[in-house]
Amino acid sequence: MSHTYGTIIGPNRGRLLGTALLVALGVLVAGCQGEPGPNDGEVINTIVLPTDTLVNLACADVGIFTEQCVLEDPENPFVTVPIIEFDVNDPDATNKFELFSSIPAGRTGAKARYYFWATALARRASGENQFYTALALHELWNYNGDPIIQAQALKAYRSVLDNFFGSVTVFTCCESVRPPDDPRGPIPFPIGLNELTADNLYRTDATGYRRLVEGDPLLVLEVLLEWGYRYRPANPPDYTDGLVFVNTG
């Protein structure tokens, strides 16, 4: 489509019109701001991490894929923090696990860990970030016993199965094969997150926390069945042979 812009009029009127438009533009531009001034913004060179275990969930699905409201949670200390994902092309580069491991252990770091992983998940949707968010919620509930957090942790674990069933996380091992001083470093190996999720729910030793589905461990299997999965629990001594199946029938 095209349009024509009317008939020709005298040059004086054109000049006036052009001048008026230029003046209008000048006024509009003058009313705008460009570079930030010296008083703009808040200095955030340091942030004190929360040490309590009380968490007000920012929204109903916070910490669950695809929700990103944790990025708008004013209590979240990691909103502006770069959380660097593992780079397969540069495995030696700094990544999120280094920062994660610096968070104080135990109760005082539980809330920070939750915010860390929920932020990572909101920034990068991955099974790994979802799994560790679930684990962090699990830990929080272990300390505060809040049934809301308990339910949220279950939702987060379920999200690992529902949304990232085939995802893995990478661990390193095994000193018997490659000693710690080997210049090639430890051997990385992937583990399916579906197994880890079921194991965390089923076996308290896996996390060191209370079981989210309280009571008999068999209740975990029922919950998993409700979610649409069957679990063949892992066996001692290594607990690496657990299997999760998707119900197809």
Binding site: M1, S2, H3, T4, Y5, G6, T7, I8, I9, G10, P11, R13, G14, R15, L17, G18, L21, L22, A24, L25, L28, C32, Q33, G34, E35, P36, D40, G41, E42, V43, I44, N45, T46, I47, V48, L49, T51, L71, P77, F78, T80, V81, P82, I84, E85, N89, T94, L99, S102, I103, P104, G109, A112, R123, R124, A125, S126, T240, D241, L243
Partner: protein, 1052 residues
Amino acid sequence: MAVSSFLRNMRQAGGLLVIALALAAPLQAQAQADRVTTFKDDKGWKLQVNGEDFYVKGVVWGYSPRGQNYTYNLWGESDDFIRKVLDYDFGLMKAAGVNAIRSFSEIPPEWVTYIYREHGIMTVINPLMGRYGYTIGGKWVPFVDYSDPLTRETLKRDMVEIVRKYKDVPGVLMFAFGNESNYGLSWSSFEIENLPEGEQNTAKARYLYSLFNEVIAAGKAVAPNHPFTIVNGDIQYIDLIAEYCKDMDVLGVNAYRGPSFTNLWAEVDRKLDLPVVFFEFGSDAFNARRFEEDQRSQALMLKDQWQEMYNKAYGNGEEGNSIGGFVFEWRDEWWKYLQIENLDKQDNNASWSNQGYLFDWAEGKNNMNEEWFGIAALGLPNSDGVYEARPRMAYDVLSEVWALDPYDASKAQINAMFASMDMALYELKGDVRQLKADNRESKRWLRLTGGDIRGEFALRGTEEEIRIDGEDAVEFSDGQMLFVDFGFQPTEELEGQFSLNILGNVADKRPLEFTYGDRGLPIVIDNATTEIQDVDVEPVIIADRERVEIYDFSANFRGKHADIEAFYHTPRFHWGYEGDFFGLVREATDISGMDVWNAKAPEGIEIQGKGAFEGLTLLGGPEVYWGANPKFVVKYDLDLGRVGLSLIHSEDVARLGQGAAATQATERQSRQTTIYAEAELFKDVKLELGGIMSATEKVDEIYTRLGPDGNIYKDEIKFEDTLGFKAKLTFPVFGAETYVSGHYAGLVADGGDPLKTFGVTDPSRLPYSGLGNKQEYEAGMMMHFGNLMIYPRLMYRDNFIHANPFIPPSIDPDGTLNPGLSPRDRDNDPFAVLGNREARSAEMFFTWDPTGATPFYDWDNEWREDAKFAFNFGGTYTEFPTPTDAYLFFYEPSGANASFGRGLPAEDVWALSSRLVFNPTQRSRYIFRLVRGFDQSTGNPDGGTRDYFELHGKALLNRRHLISGYFLKDAWGPYDFYRQFNLTYPEQYKLDYAYLLGSPGMLGSKMDEERATRIGIRGILRTTDENSPDEEYLDGLNDYLFLVVVYFTYRF
């Protein structure tokens, strides 16, 4: 047998003799040129050829096959094919009694003579004399200013040169100049604008007609044996014609007055006393009211017109100034409506209104259907590849009319003949022909309009595989593909087309080539090893994938209040020339580029208001341009006197689920509102102003920055950050078209694609960006020195907030978090500094193009450029003193964007490039493009800046042999993702040879190159190094990979 063989040989010999004679004609032309004169006595005027009376029984002739438009050049085809076209068309014309033609194309002299000698039909030489633009002083001027001294001198010189070229050519009837030039007085000048509005066009017309007479006078001095005339739009400005065109011999007129020419004869007789020839008149054969072909109304109209013309001829006691005319036109042309769209179907859209044609006129509605004016319809190609002309009823009527010589018959005899014509019989003949044609084409509800069959055999291998497995490592695969195209028209108001694509096998050519049809390749879902934790796992391969899909679709509905167009994978243009100053609606014409990734954009619906809703446009759909989020766009245009205003609002309603072009990042859902005003302040001085409000949903979003004091700041997006303003002033400086522009854009005031001077073919590498967070200034000056254009451009840009450096976060043992800082990205931050980063850029291009009618930077120049030699050469140097934030890419496995983590570093980049076009003969063309550059990736910072060289070439030999290829050194691979991931190859070679089989008459356009019937072979070779993809380099184990493809395409 012997006899028939002898006869066949004799026929061939005879044919060769005719051809030889015809082609030798120019050598003898001087001796055989005709003398054409006008004659007058008290009974009126006559035209005479070599002393014999000659009443012009003409048609306007041109040859435009289906699928082609005004760019098609019959004279560039082989002599054999030209002859077949001429013999077919002029054979039919001769049978009807046609004795002269007028053509918009310049028919080469040898073919003018061929037409005359073989078919007895004479030709009017009709240069358009700048009617649709002209090269003046080396610069293409679309609206010619006839008052400009250089323009007048140039046109006069060139027109006389054409006269000199044709003056002795046998078969030339007369010389005529222009085409309704009085309707195209669109130029403006300061002097004329100072006149009262009503007198401005009259003033311009004075310049036009005085120039006409100067040209005619000069032409007659060169060619005294031919009459000279003009092609005027009706008899507008007849008083000025009388005043200025004293040397004119005949008045040439295009007249669309309906069945009668009313007072035209008397007016010309009274004011000019010249004979009248109609260069265009007639009627279309489509009834806009009944919305169907209407042969009868056209024929009746022409019958009435010719009866009046005969009555007004010499010796009938009336004005006696009718000497004949050229019916518009011989055969329908399917490109006339929209001109570059729907070329393979006949549009039914009426594009103007004329109350003289009462058979289908209605108040407030158009009734003139440009694609239906032929006295013959455009048929299918015959066995020679010539598109047939299906005579309409008008052809039969005119055959009887033209059988009568008005100079041999009395007025009573003339009128008796017209009264006795058996119109019912002619109608029946026309209907029968139409019925037969309809049967052939299955018109209406659903019809097959064409398609093609493609087949290929591919050989693929790598050095490493061959080293290990020998020749067994060379993989062979084959592919077959079928396109079937359909048109449909279930109702009068609704019509459209769609194509189906059907796959057989799919040849696997990856990674050297990604092509349309790869959707059919098997997908390996899980290529795990055979055992995981004691459980056997088989690779999961989905082999039987989509074999049939709708390739494209479009439909148009013409309603009372709006026209609606639905589109799916059909090309669409940007709105940059229609008030979209910030480029919100981007161009989506790279259909073949989309096909590589099986992308189906553009997809949506456009509604254009009519009547009370004129100026309103609604656009919406899942992906209205490639990579667009699902969105709707509302646009309203209005005129305020001399100022044109456009208001646009664009609103994303969701986010695209898949990246365009494999790894192109998706964009967050957003919105923009823009206003644009344009005014021509003085002659050639144009001011454009625009404002934008963008991404208001980002207000209050948090971002970080490093302050000048070294502190890390957290800040929020404010409303002011959503605003942007842009101004551009275009003005002449010593005749050079000059522009300056300024663009202020708040942090999130993002627009779309900036519009370059020459659009998508602009060679500029200035770092244009539609993103906000900038103040940007640009200037350029287009200087012309004869055929040489020099175009320097400058750009300066600064950011309000620069990219973030990477400062690693840390946590102290006391639980204090040092949050650090990282480069932003467009998913996790409200804005990021990317292509819009600070820049200082300068560029200069030299362009040599002696033929301005085929502009060097037109999108189709590759097929249209007709200069013997045209080229450009230039370079761009850009300083990027700051780094970028992090780019994103679309990561298919997670179905989401991922960040490269770091930005591109500060760098100074440059590029030199040249494009050269050679046309040594009409049937051969060579095009080369060279680039030498030093530039960065468009995403991944790893690997650094690349110093590269490119040579691309294409040669079309004898319009049959198409050779194309490239040699690239240290350059990125051929698809966007290679540069995005900074993947280069030491050397890349490609060579493609195709033999174009036809169909004859369909060669030499973009469409042919993509879809012509052909057979060919193509080879690609790439060497690898550490900058190449890991899976191809294999840590140095693999030196090269190659692909050879043998292919054929049959088009029907």
